[in-house]
Assembly symmetry: C2
Homo-oligomer: 454 residues x 2
């Protein structure tokens, strides 16, 4: 019996499908990377089922590519070698909220907004916000982060324990429910960010936080990117507990003004969010404002009320749309380098010049508290010259970052898009990674082609 | 030529020694674990030297045990299989402070106080404070933490990049200078806490923080341990950015009163430290005080001035001494379990009962924001019955923690003392750890006997 028939016998026809529409849905993610069909899509419901599927795949050398919601940006979920697309959408239960422990135990198919809806009942929230309503399994697989990591950390900082099904079907737990541990090797940290190449996650224990008593949003405009970044460094040095701190460059503000017919000052702009107690916050905001003033800030606005906050951050939220809107039929390519703080202002200025040189149009958006910034490019995939220009620009940004102590991906992961930079970034450490991969997946069935390339 | 002669030829007689006094100094750590002499102590000065030593040791199957200052508490630095004690005291330079990046690049032999002295010139500090003036290499090897991890995280959270010499002499770098990265496997996290069993660190890039504008210390007494712990949960839930939050039980306060002839209230007591801006802090302290009041706090004192703060925390600082003082000739055994918050109060109450049952005398001290607590026992190593009672007590505490989602070691590491609990705690994941060990150290020369046992 072939493996697909075997899987159907075990799980039933509804959860093992070769339906062309379903295959197509599992052939791409949200990126510009070329699609590729899996041979079959399987919907497990338990870790034991995942284990059984994995054992069979391992024996028969069938590739297995985990699939959350397909919101990855570097082709992680695309099954370039065919085989099984392992879809976790039926494993989407919030299993246990432990308010006293600031922990939640979830299945990998739970989405970020689904989780936060459940946590809100307990006065808690999950901090990682990558923008997309991704699954927590996918977010752990790519070590996602986003706007809040300056305060709360990245996905790896939130994962306390993973249940992982290994390539040979073994089911292990990598951590515990404690805030810290020095017991054994840090397998949790190794599996987070492994992009489905070392195992498939079937349960996650995540750290959550109390919803802050008060939130203040602020928007501050600066004469130059350098002065905006210097403000961020001074705010962080003073230990002001900012929860988000985002930079958008003047060209991007101009595009929002065009798109929304608004008149925001076309200057490098910081969007800051403060979390804390009501009274502490008023001092934090005042302090941040005085720092911004020292760096030539011409306009510093802040709002406490939830609607007014949303209005204040309107430019930030509309930026991607502003570029998408003017580029019908094009696909989005988002770059993702991260540099040390001291290199950030120079890197953003260089990125703007590189965009202009490329003849492409793009926004620059920075999670500036982390030194991570994105260039959002709209490209016509049917125009090979335009695709080439975008790839050259992306390569330039990566090389710039790597030459200054940076990384080729701050939060999107390697997938296929950044595989070619792994040797330059990691040197001989890449061989160590490869040897870990081989020992845990000797037959190479787990998400082949990702991280290490074809 | 034997390997010691070879090493002497390479490094000179002064840096390769079999002097009995030096061997003895490298035969023990600060714990109660039995000493064992190395065959030779080697003092490298560069990564290249470490690489050359390692290659030779690997070829000739000579055990290599890295040595910082010998302040470990579970026998990590004791060379139970003899061979080379690799002493990093000559690699003790602060190589580069990067204030704008909140980073410092150091050699592994740099100590915590040495580092903070250097950082202070730049208005910065290194956050991890395990009590002992350990080396940063040793702290990274055990994933040390201490009083400040509730705010700033543990050692693993501070290490951005490691230069590691592998068993075969390869020199790799595991990370970058960026605040975050999703590029490749998280080798930094894997090597931190690996206790010298996967490689030797020759350089570390560490995250540092701006010295807060203001610091407030507080001391709060409660009727019960449960009410003290509930206060901590509420303070953390409200997002009050406390920097330290320590619990000492009433028996321990009594011992300090006896030792120091003081009259501190003999009640479960929280010691809290707040870091922030002056004005935010006054609100944070007020808020914490009102939470404590809701949980029956009978006395809440706080101080801002540095001397007055030290005075307020006097009990905390004197606790270990109070027990050491009354136990001349005895050695200290410190337990180190960590449990989920919701289990902490019960665990501390159970620990006190278990101490009383054991007929031993001991202090309980908790890094209560992390769920990590220590029982400090003074034991007479020449009395096998007393040693046995201490071991039974330690085993009870570990089993209690493991049965409630905890870990056998919150911050001291496995060494030899916790090796026997690794299978219970990690299950099949221990086999995965072992397979990583074998692939990186196939000849088993790196700190043999540690983590995995003999």
């Amino acid at each position: 019996m072939d493996y697909i028939s075997q899987l159907k016998e075990w799980l039933g026809h509804e959860r093992v499908t070769t339906n062309p529409t379903v295959l197509e849905h599992h052939s791409h993610d949200e990126s510009y990377h070329a699609p590729h069909l899996p041979d079959v899509v399987v919907f497990p419901q338990t870790a034991q089922e995942v284990s059984r599927i994995m054992k069979l795949a391992n024996e028969q050398r069938i590739p297995v590519t985990p699939f959350g919601l397909g919101s990855s940006l570097e082709g992680h979920a695309i099954p370039y070698s065919g085989g099984i697309s392992l879809d976790f959408s039926l494993m989407n239960q919030v299993l246990e909220v432990r308010p006293q422990d600031f922990l939640v135990r979830v299945q990998p198919g739970v989405t970020r907004t689904q989780l936060n809806k459940e946590l809100k009942k307990h006065g808690l929230f999950f901090s990682v916000d990558p923008g997309a309503d991704a699954t927590v399994g996918g977010m752990a697989a790519t070590n996602a982060s986003g706007t809040t990591s300056v305060r709360y950390g990245v996905m790896r900082d939130q994962v306390r324990d993973l249940e992982v099904v290994l390539a040979d079907g073994r089911i292990i737990r990598t951590g515990s429910m404690t805030a810290k541990s020095s017991s054994g090797y840090h397998l949790t940290g190794l599996f987070v960010g492994s992009e489905g190449t070392l195992g498939a996650f079937t349960e996650l224990t995540l750290r959550v936080y109390g919803i802050p008593e008060a939130t203040v949003a602020a928007r501050a405009c600066f004469p130059t990117v350098q002065e905006a970044v210097d403000t961020v460094v001074d705010i962080l040095a003073a230990g002001v507990p900012v929860a988000r701190i985002e930079l958008i460059d003047e060209r991007s503000i101009r595009q929002v003004n065009l798109y929304k017919e608004t008149s925001y000052p076309e200057q490098p702009t910081l969007f800051i969010e403060f979390h804390g107690s009501e009274q502490s916050l008023s001092h934090d905001v005042e302090f941040a404002q005085s720092i911004a003033g020292e760096h030539g800030c011409s306009e510093f606005l802040f709002e406490t009320d939830s609607k007014a906050r949303a209005q204040l951050w309107d430019v930030r939220h509309n930026m991607a749309y502003a570029f998408i809107h003017k580029s019908p039929g094009k696909k989005m390519m988002v770059t993702d380098v991260c540099v040390p703080f001291s290199e950030l202002a120079g890197a953003v200025v260089d990125a703007r010049q590189a965009i202009d040189r490329s003849g492409l149009d793009g926004a620059i958006l920075g999670h500036v508290g982390d030194g991570n910034y994105h260039v959002i490019l709209m490209i016509d995939l049917s125009d090979p010259a335009e695709v080439k220009r975008a790839e050259v620009l992306n390569a330039h940004l990566v090389e710039y970052a790597l030459s200054r102590g940076g990384t080729c991906t701050g939060e999107h992961g390697v997938g296929v898009g950044k595989a070619k930079y792994q040797r330059i970034e990691h040197g001989e450490a890449l061989d160590v990674m490869h040897s870990l991969k081989r020992v845990l997946d000797p037959n190479g069935i787990l998400n082949p082609g990702k991280i290490f390339g074809a």
